[in-house]
């Protein structure tokens, strides 16, 4: 959003009030003003966000103004095909927003409230599903983008801008995140926006905050613990299989969950193979687009704690971290000393790692083949279920491809945001952090080319196809592991179910799905060479 500020010079407040009372027309000047008003609003909101971000770090209450964050899903849906004049009535009541750029000013929220209040008075035919207004708006906007209908795009974005908020309900949040993506796309500043957002989050990243967010997330939602429990179960069974038990175990951990998977594995290892606990080494690979000192510090701290904990558990343990900048497929796995002289049994654990690899140039196949060459005893793959690969070619997708990817992103992230909303308490800094992260992913998905994207998830069927063609065969989860997963889901709130992947044809995907309200969201599987 900062980039927008640079692109558009700030308008004076006088201009703004003038803009607010003018009706929409197709005159370029008006459009420009509306653009700037629109951008100002977003900019102001961005400043708010920054302000709140700073607050986050000091543990202040994030929700200082309850009424501004109150759910306004009951507001009426503005039909985009209605004459534009109706939309401007919402802004006539806007008081002069003089201190817009003052981060301490919280009066802007009132504007939003009023905006929401007036549509009911102007009562434009509130067609459409009241609850799903954001999806409809967003889809319309995406369609317009795909069709390169800039006028319509601007109309819709303006509306979205009015109605969205990163602190509102799920609909508003989704609208806000996608809107951010749209902005980046239309201004061709996707990668730049992404870098800015990543740098901002990096600045606030610390061991404390990471730990808090990750652990709280796992406490309230099985989104990540589902994959962890399934993977740990499969790994343990593969390692402790009496026919091939080894005294040295090595796990190559390609994951973005900051080693929260391993304490339970260590405990299980200590208690299950009671008499002679084998030696365990874990090599964690952390990847990012650009090197980050914050992440390095976090991993250092994590490493220390893991080692102490392993000592506490009585498991001989060694921990290595590898920081990799760039695409994972470029990492040379042979340099990691995974065999430790040849005696260790190897397991490879990929949590959300594969979709971080660029879909272009067969890089994903390259990585999987490299893993195959390591001859691991077992490979666990946990991925989020969404068909976002798109064209896979260079350059941003255009037209239909973009629209398809957009719809799928909307579906997936709606489920994600909804589950976050229902799992976390009403006011939660951890959830905000996760939503912000999702916002970054969305900017990547909407505004960045697929070839450079690290968010191009694929479906279980897609990954299964790749694994099979690389020479892996699916290893079904045992009944015990399935029971463990079911017991895990029982510990959480309602809404989560587990489903085994369909096994009919040769091409079918293996593994199990975590479903949120009957919609598969996370896929966990195990593979053997």
């Amino acid at each position: 959003m900062d980039t927008l500020f640079r692109l558009f010079s700030p308008q004076s407040s006088r201009d703004l009030s003038r803009n607010s009372s003018s009706s929409r027309s197709s005159e370029p000047r008006q459009i420009h003003h509306q653009h700037s008003f629109l951008h100002h609003n977003s900019f102001a909101r961005q400043r708010e966000v920054e302000f709140y971000r700073e607050e986050c770090g000091t543990e202040h209450h994030l929700y200082m103004d309850e009424d501004f964050s109150s759910s306004s899903s009951s507001k009426h849906f503005q039909n985009p095909h209605q004459p534009p004049s109706t939309t401007t009535t919402t802004t006539t009541t806007t008081p002069t927003p003089t201190p817009i750029f003052d981060p301490a000013d919280l009066s802007l929220p009132q504007d939003l409230n009023l905006d929401f209040a007036s549509p009911s008075s102007s009562s434009v035919g509130a067609s459409g599903a009241g609850r799903r207004w954001s999806s409809q708006l967003l889809i319309e906007c995406a369609r317009a983008v795909a069709a390169r209908d800039s006028h319509r795009v601007q109309q819709l974005m303006w509306m979205l801008n009015e109605l969205s908020s990163p602190y509102g309900d799920t609909e508003q949040k989704l609208a806000a995140c996608f809107l951010q993506g749209f902005f980046a796309r239309l201004t061709s500043s996707g990668p730049r926006t992404l870098r800015t957002l990543s740098a901002a989050s990096d600045r606030n990243c610390s061991f404390e905050s990471t730990r808090r967010t990750a652990l709280r997330f796992q406490e309230v939602s099985p989104w990540s613990s589902f994959g962890h429990v399934a993977a740990n179960g499969a790994i343990l069974e593969a390692f402790l299989d009496p026919s091939s038990a080894s005294q040295r175990l090595h796990i190559l951990d390609l994951s973005n969950t900051f080693c929260t998977q391993w304490p339970t594995l260590l405990e299980a290892l200590a208690t299950r193979s009671a008499d002679d606990t084998p030696h365990l080494s874990i090599t964690t690979v952390v990847w990012s687009a650009s090197p980050s000192t914050a992440v390095q510090a976090v991993m250092r701290e994590i490493g220390q704690r893991m080692e102490k904990f392993a000592r506490l558990m009585g498991v001989p343990f060694r921990f290595n971290v590898v920081h990799h900048a760039g695409d994972l497929s470029d990492l040379d796995l042979d340099t990691l000393d995974l065999r430790e002289g040849g005696s260790s049994a190897l397991a490879v654990n990929c949590i959300n790692a594969l979709h971080g690899v660029s879909p272009a140039d067969h890089r994903r196949e390259t990585l999987i083949a490299a893993i195959r060459r390591l001859q691991p005893r077992i490979v666990t793959v946990v991925e989020e279920e969404a068909d976002l690969e798109g064209g896979g070619g260079g350059g941003e997708e255009e037209g239909e491809a973009f629209f398809k990817v957009f719809k799928e992103s909307l579906r997936f992230f709606s489920a994600y945001f909804e589950s976050l909303e229902e799992s976390f308490p009403r006011t939660s800094n951890e959830r905000l952090a996760l939503e912000r992260e999702a916002g970054r992913s969305l900017v990547d998905l909407v505004a960045c080319p697929a070839a450079e994207s690290a968010e191009r998830r694929d479906t279980a069927a897609g990954w299964s196809r790749r694994m099979r063609s690389a020479g892996f065969a699916p290893a079904a989860f045992s009944e015990d592991v399935a029971d463990d997963v079911r017991a895990l889901l029982r510990r959480y709130k309602e809404g989560w179910t587990m489903r085994a992947a369909a096994e009919e044809s040769e091409d079918a995907s293996a593994g199990i799905f975590l479903e949120w309200k009957e919609q598969p969201v996370v896929w966990a599987s195990a593979w053997k060479p």
């Binding site: 208690t271 193979s273 904990f309």
Partner: protein, 410 residues
């Protein structure tokens, strides 16, 4: 409670007396010998049923021999439990039942109508109904003259060797089920499997009711969130340091002289006041803390070769023990845990183990928690916390978490 021989406080003297009286200097210390201190040659007898029911005693109870400086004969088989030395009964008949017999549920058969019963009493009751003539009513006294000890038929098992035989039939049956049997019972909350129905029942009672408290003060109802939290908790740094130092400090005074059985059988009483180690304290520990202590110790075997981690595995289960909030940890409990912890560190290396790295006391009993490796924490927890929160003289309450005794302790 231990049945003390005539003079309770002066245990040491009474044992040495008995031993020295015996012309063969047999260190024959089955429980019965203590009941009849006058007889110089101690016949192996059935210990009275009353004492056999005491779960707090090992299968082959006896006086701790730690106190006695007598020389011993070479044929004496020594196995020791919880830091005490007990001599196996050399005259006992070693019985190895077949797996089928062990798994059979109705082993008491009426000879008249061939009806099967699970318990001897039930069979006797049934036999009464046959109106037998008087003399047939009595069980032939010759049959039960010899004490029987049972070994596990599974050759790879620790208890296959006669020196590690178990003293009672129920014990060996349960052991066989647990270790070598199919686990047919499953907890639906945590998917733990059990072979013995009573183990399963006991677990289901407590599964999910435990709460875990981290050292930092946070309370958890879920074990997995507790574990993950603990791994990254700030309290971890101090914790491991404390554990290490505790293990180190308690080990030296206790272990050395006590556990070099073949070398230390010389008059060292005076030089090792620690050996005596407050017999009353031992008694207390023996009577009340046997369960937790003996359960602590065997876990230390896990890392014989790596010295520092011997106490570390203790802490995997100790961690969960300590964290459980079913009862506050008493001081004695901690001390005994640490103390035995210390004793074990050196012992194991010194004593020629039949099978390296196996657990001692629990398997000796054949009944205790943790034979199935994953029972460690739960049953351990139950025992520890149950014992720590139970009043001294209430044995039934102590065994709250333990599989209930279903029959006579035979």
């Amino acid at each position: 409670m231990f049945l003390s021989s005539a003079a309770a406080p002066s245990n040491s003297t009474s044992i040495s007396e008995e031993a020295s009286v015996s012309s063969e200097t047999r260190f024959h210390v089955s429980f019965s010998s203590l009941l009849a201190p006058s007889s110089p040659h101690h016949q192996p007898q059935q210990p009275p049923p009353k004492t056999r029911k005491k779960r707090s005693q090992p299968g082959n109870p006896g006086r701790p021999l730690s106190l006695s400086p007598q020389p011993c004969s070479s044929w004496l088989l020594i196995s020791w439990v919880r830091g005490h030395i007990y001599a196996a009964d050399p005259d006992a008949e070693v019985v190895a039942l077949s797996p089928n017999t062990l798994m059979a549920t109705n082993r008491f058969i009426c000879e008249i109508c061939n009806k099967g019963f699970q318990r001897d009493q039930n069979l006797q009751l049934h036999r009464r109904g046959h109106n037998l003539p008087w003399k047939l009513r009595q069980r032939s006294s010759k049959e039960v003259a010899r004490k029987r000890v049972y070994v596990c038929p599974e050759p790879s098992c620790v208890h296959h060797h006669p020196s590690r035989a178990l003293g009672d039939l129920t014990g060996i049956k349960k052991h066989f089920s647990r270790k070598h049997g199919e686990k047919r019972w499953k907890c639906d909350k945590c998917s733990k499997r059990y072979a013995v129905h009573s183990d399963w029942k006991a677990h289901v009672k407590t599964c999910g009711t435990k709460e875990y408290r981290c050292d930092c003060g946070t309370l958890f109802s879920r074990k997995d969130s507790f574990i993950t939290h603990r791994a990254f908790c700030d309290a971890l740094a101090e914790e491991s340091a404390r554990l290490m130092s505790a293990a180190v400090t308690t080990s030296p005074p206790l272990h050395q002289p006590l556990f070099r059985p073949f070398s230390s059988w010389h008059p060292t009483t005076s030089s090792n006041p620690n050996l005596i180690f407050n017999p009353s304290h031992d008694l207390d520990l023996g009577a009340l803390q046997i369960k937790p202590a003996e359960n602590d110790l065997p876990s230390l075997d896990h890392h014989l070769p790596t010295g520092t981690s011997t106490s570390a595995h203790l802490s995997a289960t100790a961690l969960l023990q300590r964290a459980s909030t079913m009862g506050a940890m008493s001081f004695t409990n901690t001390v005994s845990g640490q103390g035995y912890d210390g004793m074990m560190v050196g012992d194991v290396a010194a004593f020629p183990m039949w099978q390296n790295g196996h657990r001692l006391t629990r398997d000796f009993l054949g009944v205790a928690a943790g034979e199935t490796g994953d029972d460690d924490d739960d049953l351990l927890l139950d025992l520890v916390t149950a014992s720590s929160c139970a009043p001294m003289g209430d044995p039934t309450k102590q065994l709250a978490g333990f599989p209930p005794v279903t029959g006579p302790w035979d």
